[in-house]
Amino acid sequence: MTEAVAASKPKAVSTLEIFGVFLQIGATSFGGGVVAYLRSALVTKKRWLDDKEFLELMSLSNTLPGLNATNMAILAGDRLGGTPGAVAAMTGMCLPALILMTAAGIAYGASGNRPIVTAALHGVAAAATGLIAATWYQIGKKTVKGFYDAFFILAAVLGINHFKLSVPVVLLSVGALAIFAYRPVKKTDRPHEDSHAWIRSLQ
């Protein structure tokens, strides 16, 4: 375990400093797009990572289950300060949201039934639908490079919404097929570079 950390360049960053930086991101990254906040703090301001390292961590973060915000905290925290660094980064990233969203639960219990609150929240839900649709529209525009991509998107949507399949079933069927379609022997695409360009284009 320790040799893996030693193999990637060790950086002299204290655990407390890691916690502070991620706590700040966790408390201020309003409006989504945590990735942009992370890049600005880790690459531009602190220079703890260079662009190449950041993209490498992003591409790994995207392939794994879990959110980008927390996956990136763990991967970057580990690289900067080993196991304590990963725990500090994850805790800092999550703590403000945990406090806010627990408080939101208490507030919802106290006044979630008032008609004006219900009406406002229904407006929030409508706005969130538009917002999330816009995010995925942009990602889709950058990812769809041909018939295969469109086909796999459609197959996954139909699997979830029409056939009411669970996510694991879709992953084992459509996901496996998609991975096979982009299997290593294929020479026409260069997936590794593709995925980097895709991630870069999100920032």
Binding site: M101, V167, A178
Partner: protein, 173 residues
């Protein structure tokens, strides 16, 4: 309090479905939270999910709000731990062997192949979500205006959400 083990099971399972982001897990979250355990109504779930979009940090911390509604502050803590710790450990472990798998040819295939599938899962989740959220012409217009403004302007998404709240409070009472 007797719901604590169920909270841990449900959110531990849902966390593993968040391929490409939280929306992929929404359809199953709805089934488990609304139909199976009856912790929330459909409307309450989309309300809480949407408020989560306003939060800084990980936008899926709304699981803590659900946990709080079910079993108070201990419920919130258990939901958050169950949702973020198992995938966190997985990420940590894979990060450690990253150097060894970086050159593995199938790794690139997995990344490239799962890209469009992750989009499909998110769109599938969003359709399920939108069916509950868009219930009339006011919500349809709010959704379309926010969609347009997020694509065409650089206005902070949190402000668009608050705008939705204002329109809702006036027009949906």
């Amino acid at each position: 309090m007797d719901q604590i083990p169920a909270i841990a099971r449900v959110f531990g399972y849902l966390s593993l479905l968040t391929i490409g982001g939280g929306m992929a897990a929404f359809p199953e979250m709805k089934v488990l939270v609304v139909s199976v355990h009856r912790w929330l109504t459909d409307a309450q779930l989309i309300h809480i999910y949407s408020v989560g979009q306003l939060s800084p940090g990980p936008n899926m911390m709304m699981v803590a709000t659900i946990g709080e509604r079910v079993a108070g502050i201990p419920g919130a803590l258990v939901a958050a731990l169950a949702f973020f710790v198992p995938t966190g450990i997985l990420t940590f472990a894979v990060g450690r062997i990253w150097n060894r798998i970086a050159a593995w040819p199938w790794r690139a295939s997995i990344q490239r192949g799962l890209g469009p599938v992750a989009i499909g899962l998110a769109v599938g989740g969003l359709i399920t979500f939108g069916r509950s959220a868009v219930t009339g012409w006011v919500t349809l217009v709010v959704g379309l205006v926010v969609f347009y403004l997020s694509l065409k302007t650089r206005v902070n998404p949190a402000l668009l959400i608050l705008g939705g709240a204002a329109v809702g409070a006036i027009a949906l009472r």
